[in-house]
């Protein structure tokens, strides 16, 4: 795979520098490798995201207006070390606490927890909400073993909006937890991405196979199935999502009349054309069940280099979440105007 880079070991640093340049004064580079907004108001309950680099535009591309206040950026596909988490925390803190919101991966949890400990030593109040939207990574009774994938994007959007009006860390934590609980994703992969420093593929999969439920780094999911069409695959994926809402005691089953936000994510190489074909089927299947598509997101927002595959995320919206969604937001990589399409 041809990659337009410089020193392979400096890819993460250089991409974050480029991101700061893209923000053109809206955000700054902090400490060893964090990105933080310049205009965080005093007293604001801060929202910090983060994780390994190489999945752009997440996580650091979600820093912005009415989005996250900052991001702690790891090396390529690696968790940010605790000092980076701490440096970002210190910079976003406005005296009213900091919420960490990130995907549930062991390395991230270890390092963010240590970052929280360092921050607490400096009397910064830190709370953590983990994102675990990948329904194929563990059963609903073992959410602590679930991975965070593309559902992170709507969740951070909703939490970012909530953080604008939250009066306390408790309030923001509750809003973020609700967004996490109501968001479920299922992904498939067709071919791997490659590690920039080595050029090696992140996993192996047969030419004629699709990894159903496979994680964004090639982690095992439901298993490999023969390559098929969009209209054959989409119902299988959607069934896994609907089944998960049914099986999970912590949420109601999806029912006729429910409003859902639909997000079709490309893992990098899968084209907008393919995402739209999947969306068309998702919309038809949900309509059959009487489930209302409240708004739609489509595009490559949670990627793994040139990995091909898509994920479908559903977020069930109540009045509170709709209020957060309809707030406008802006970042280099993800912006929307006030309200919703069709609203």
């Amino acid at each position: 795979m041809k990659k337009l880079i410089n020193d392979p070991l400096k890819v993460a640093d250089e991409l974050v520098e480029g991101l700061v340049d893209a923000y053109n004064g809206e955000c700054k580079f902090v400490g060893s490798r964090s990105i933080v907004k310049n205009d965080i108001p005093d007293g604001k309950v801060a929202l910090l995201v983060g994780g390994g680099s190489g999945h752009e535009p997440i996580y650091h591309g979600l820093v912005g207006r009415n989005l996250a206040d900052g991001a702690a950026c790891g090396d390529i596909f690696a968790a940010p070390p605790p000092n980076i988490v701490f440096e970002a925390t210190e910079e976003v803190d406005r005296g009213n606490g900091v919420l960490y919101l990130y995907g549930n991966y062991a390395g991230d949890v270890l390092n963010f927890d240590l970052g929280a400990e360092l921050s607490e030593d400096e009397d910064i109040d830190v709370r953590t909400v983990l994102i675990w939207d990948d329904v194929c990574s563990a059963p609903p009774t073992e959410k602590d073993k679930r991975r965070g994938i593309a559902g992170l994007v709507p969740i951070v959007k909703l939490a970012g909006a909530a953080s604008q009006t939250a009066k306390s860390l408790d309030e923001l934590e509750a809003a973020a937890k609700k967004a996490v609980l109501q968001t479920r994703s299922v992904g498939v992969s067709m071919s791997p991405g490659s590690i920039p420093a080595t050029g090696k593929p992140t996993f192996d999969i047969g030419e004629d196979e699709i990894g159903l439920g496979m994680g964004i780094h090639g982690e095992p999911g439901v298993g490999e199935i023969p390559m098929t069409t969009a209209d054959e695959l989409t119902p299988k994926m959607l069934d896994l999502l609907i089944e998960d809402f049914e099986k999970d005691d912590e949420v109601e089953a999806l029912a006729s009349g429910d409003d859902v936000l639909v997000f079709i994510n490309s893992l990098g190489a899968t084209t907008m054309m393919e995402c739209l074909i999947v969306l068309r089927k998702v919309k038809a299947l949900l309509t059959e069940k009487g489930i209302n598509v409240y708004d739609v997101m489509v595009g490559p927002l949670t990627t793994c280099q040139e990995m091909s595959g898509v994920s479908i995320s559903l977020t069930r919206m109540d009045d509170e979440l709709k209020g957060y969604w309809e707030m406008p937001c802006q970042s280099v990589c993800f912006s929307k105007m006030e309200g919703r399409y069709g609203g």
Binding site: S32, A79, P81, G107, L110, D113
Partner: protein
């Protein structure tokens, strides 16, 4: 000559000796990890201990605990990944538990190993028998707690405990980390994290007796 207590400067110099020893042992650690993991433990520890030397050499600290905390911070900032987090936790938690003490005595040594070991377990989620560094930490902490005398005696006891734990890890089947997929193939070789802990404990003890 065996030491009753170690001063702040002696504690710092002891950890500098540990850093040198681990850097020297990089090929041993790499081989140990290549057998069971992905072979990056030696290089990671070398990078961590190089950062430790930068953080400690020529610097003054207000307490012995802050020396250990400086070691932990340097390791977690430079190593990354899970091993940076757990080795960082060992030294940070162990050091934090010593509060403002200006000397390291036998009881302090026991506290260091006990708190470090407990926090590594709660942070990393490993239990004794999982074939991780915990299998050297727990016996090191137990032996240090049994030794009721000088700093030297407690450090020697911890070193003996860690060495026994490293040897015992050869007979364990890995259930955590990258080695867990090897199952019974992990038998017969020590855990690389245990090898590191044993070198650290042994070098601390040798320093106190020199």
């Amino acid at each position: 000559m065996a030491k009753e207590t170690l001063s702040i400067e002696e504690t710092r110099d002891m950890m500098l000796a540990v850093a040198d020893k681990i850097i020297e042992a990089e090929p041993i650690l790499t081989d140990a990890d290549r057998a069971l993991g992905d072979g990056d433990h030696g290089v990671g520890m070398e990078r961590g201990m190089t950062a430790v030397k930068e953080a400690l050499a020529g610097n003054e600290f207000p307490s012995v605990g802050k020396v250990f905390m400086g070691v932990g911070m340097a390791m977690m900032s430079s190593m990354g990944g899970a091993s940076g987090a757990v080795f960082g936790t060992l030294f940070r938690s162990g050091g934090k538990a010593l509060k403002d003490a200006e000397t390291l005595d036998g009881a302090g040594v026991a506290t260091f190993w006990k708190e470090g070991s407990d926090n590594v377990m709660s942070r990393g989620g490993a239990n004794p028998g999982d074939k991780t560094m915990v299998d050297a930490l727990v016996p090191a902490a137990e032996k240090a707690a049994e030794a009721t005398g000088s700093a030297s005696e407690a450090l020697a006891a911890a070193a003996a405990g860690a060495a026994a734990g490293r040897d015992a890890s050869e007979d364990m089947i890995a259930t955590m980390g990258r080695a867990k997929t090897l199952g019974e193939k992990s038998l017969g070789k020590p855990d690389a994290g245990c090898v590191s802990v044993a070198i650290i404990a042994e070098t601390m003890s040798q320093f106190a007796d020199s």
